[in-house]
């Protein structure tokens, strides 16, 4: 049985397979290989993230070389502190200790970051001082050993 297809429809239908084919080829070319492996995303992105450089080495590493400091730190109130919290990122130092020295000489403002008295700070969690009142003319480390803060030298 012959179905009448009007010439307009015939002409339009001619274009359709081309467009579809073009689209399929385009998809093949541009969709990344790992897309869809684990979900609706490019799975290789996870590898991209894993390849990023680490800048904070982690406090466990510091103790391998600086065992004396690590020991004194562990014996006093600052034992919960990570070395890099004050010293900054240390991975570069681990990779090349001479070239990247992360030794620190803190000023009053540095210690006040944690220890300045603020109403929002719980005194049971952290000892606080009033920076204006507590020996304002001295640097904190003149009296306090940052690794053993309760050991006050006068």
């Amino acid at each position: 049985m012959k179905i009448y297809i009007p010439p307009q429809v015939k002409r339009l239908l001619l274009f359709l397979p081309f467009i579809i084919l073009l689209f399929i080829i385009f998809r093949r070319l541009v969709i990344p290989d790992t897309f869809g492996d684990l979900g609706h995303y490019r799975a290789a992105s996870l590898e991209d993230y894993k390849a990023r450089e680490v800048n904070y080495a982690g406090h466990e590493l510091c103790g391998y070389c600086h065992d004396d400091i690590a020991a004194s730190l562990a014996s006093d109130l600052h034992s919960t502190l990570a070395c890099e919290g004050c010293h900054g990122p240390g991975q570069k130092h681990v990779d090349d200790p001479e070239a990247h020295n992360i030794g620190l000489t803190p000023d009053r403002a540095f210690c006040a970051l944690c220890h300045a008295k603020l109403p929002a700070r719980n005194p049971e969690v952290i000892t606080q001082i009033d920076p204006a009142g507590h020996n304002p003319d001295k640097n904190c480390i003149e009296c306090h050993n940052p690794h053993m803060p309760l050991e006050i030298s006068e």
Partner: protein, 398 residues
């Protein structure tokens, strides 16, 4: 210092209350205000054209092709501010190759292409094809080339083929109406489905977008019809114009009712975000919303059009009023998009403060670029009207 950074430091000093630190700079700016505005005009103009074809409202016949060509001109431009806004525009094909089925925005690529290629272009083609064949024969040079190409080689003008032109055109128009709703409705859904933003998150958002789109589309066709007739020095069919104005009136009533319902509901429920949103409306959005969108764009046109339904002054006065009202409504609907997009980002999601927004002049997000996107469709329309003048169809029949 980098001027953008300088601008942001300035904005930082203008923050009122507390905002999340990342909320300082607005992510969606002028370009994203333009996109719903442009697609809204497309959807609205198309719906008006469909009224003539599907519901056989013959008095609108003089504006049928004009409305379609206007819709086409705006649709060709509509996607451009969107691509311009992306930070990686050359990756925009990804929306076609790997669309995320859970994302409302992923629909964009396919709905846009469907509406452009299948609905608009086909409908225009079925309507014009007969005349393209005739004009291809009668003209010379560039125009002959254009007409021949666009016949797609279907030179048959027999009675049977012409009947199929009409049938297929009607079918496409019927399919086109829900497609137009989808084209613009999904934009409303994009905003309406963001639960994180209480200014956007409402079930009514796609509906409000659609109805305000229809208001703007009808106003646009009305203005374009008047301007084109004036340029052609051709008398305006007042019955058609009065009918368009009447439809505009009813559509404004619907749109206004919906938007009023949204606000009344918000005020009545007064849930968590109510305080910050009240401050937003009465403060930073006072001019753009209360003055421009509501007063200039809705209330004054509504009352005026309402009066005109009861009392019709002389033709010349009516034409002037329609023109002014049309422009006011177009401005008002623009500000509606502004208030939704910009307004939703001015207050913090912490509900504790506001940031600020200043429309720059230069740059891709600036006012000048925005003006280009707004003027370009009219330029395209001029070219389309030069190549495919609707009035020539009548002359060809004679």
């Amino acid at each position: 210092m980098d001027p953008h950074a300088q601008h942001l430091y300035e904005m930082l000093s203008k923050v009122v209350g507390y905002i999340y630190p990342n909320e300082l700079d607005l992510q969606w700016g002028f370009l994203i205000v333009l996109y719903p505005y442009l697609t809204g005009l497309v959807a609205g103009a198309f719906i008006l054209a469909s009224l003539e074809r599907v519901f056989k409202i013959n008095v609108l016949k003089p504006t049928y092709e004009l409305a379609l060509l206007t819709a086409l001109s705006f649709l060709l431009v509509a996607g451009l501010p969107l691509v311009n806004h992306l930070t990686h525009p050359f990756r925009s094909y990804e929306i076609l190759t790997t669309p995320n089925s859970k994302s409302a925005m992923a629909i964009f690529g396919y709905v846009y292409l469907w509406y452009l290629m299948v609905v608009l272009l086909l409908e225009i083609w079925f309507d014009y094809r007969k005349y393209l064949v005739i004009w291809a024969r009668e003209s010379r040079g560039f125009k002959k080339f254009v007409y021949t190409v666009f016949t797609l080689g279907v030179m048959d003008n027999s009675e049977r083929t012409l009947k199929w032109d009409r049938k297929l055109g009607y079918f496409i128009t019927v399919v086109g109406i829900p497609s137009a709703f989808l084209l613009h409705g999904y934009v409303g859904f994009i905003f309406g489905s963001i639960k994180a933003n209480p200014w956007w998150s409402t079930v009514l958002m796609p509906i409000i977008f659609l109805f305000s789109a229809m208001v703007s589309g009808i106003a646009l066709v009305m203005v374009v019809y008047m301007v084109v007739s004036y340029i052609r020095r051709h008398p305006i069919d007042m019955k058609a114009l009065d009918t368009i104005a009447r439809y505009l009136f009813f559509m404004i009533i619907l749109d206004f009712s919906l938007e009023a319902l949204d606000q009344i509901h918000r005020i009545y429920e007064a849930e968590e975000s109510f305080e910050i949103i009240s401050m937003l409306v009465s403060g930073k959005l006072a001019f753009t919303l209360l003055t421009m969108q509501v007063m200039v764009g809705t209330i004054i046109p509504l009352i005026t059009l309402g009066v005109l339904q009861l009392y019709k002054p002389a033709e010349r006065i009516r034409k002037a009023i329609y023109l002014i009202l049309g422009l006011m409504i177009l401005t008002g609907i623009f500000f509606m998009r502004w208030n939704v997009v910009i307004g939703g980002q001015l207050f913090s999601k912490s509900f504790y403060g506001f940031t600020s927004f200043k429309l720059g002049l230069v740059g891709s997000e600036g006012a000048l670029m925005g003006a280009v996107w707004l003027i370009l469709p009219f330029l395209i329309l001029s070219v389309l009207l030069w190549l495919f003048p609707p009035w020539k169809m009548e002359e060809t029949e004679l």
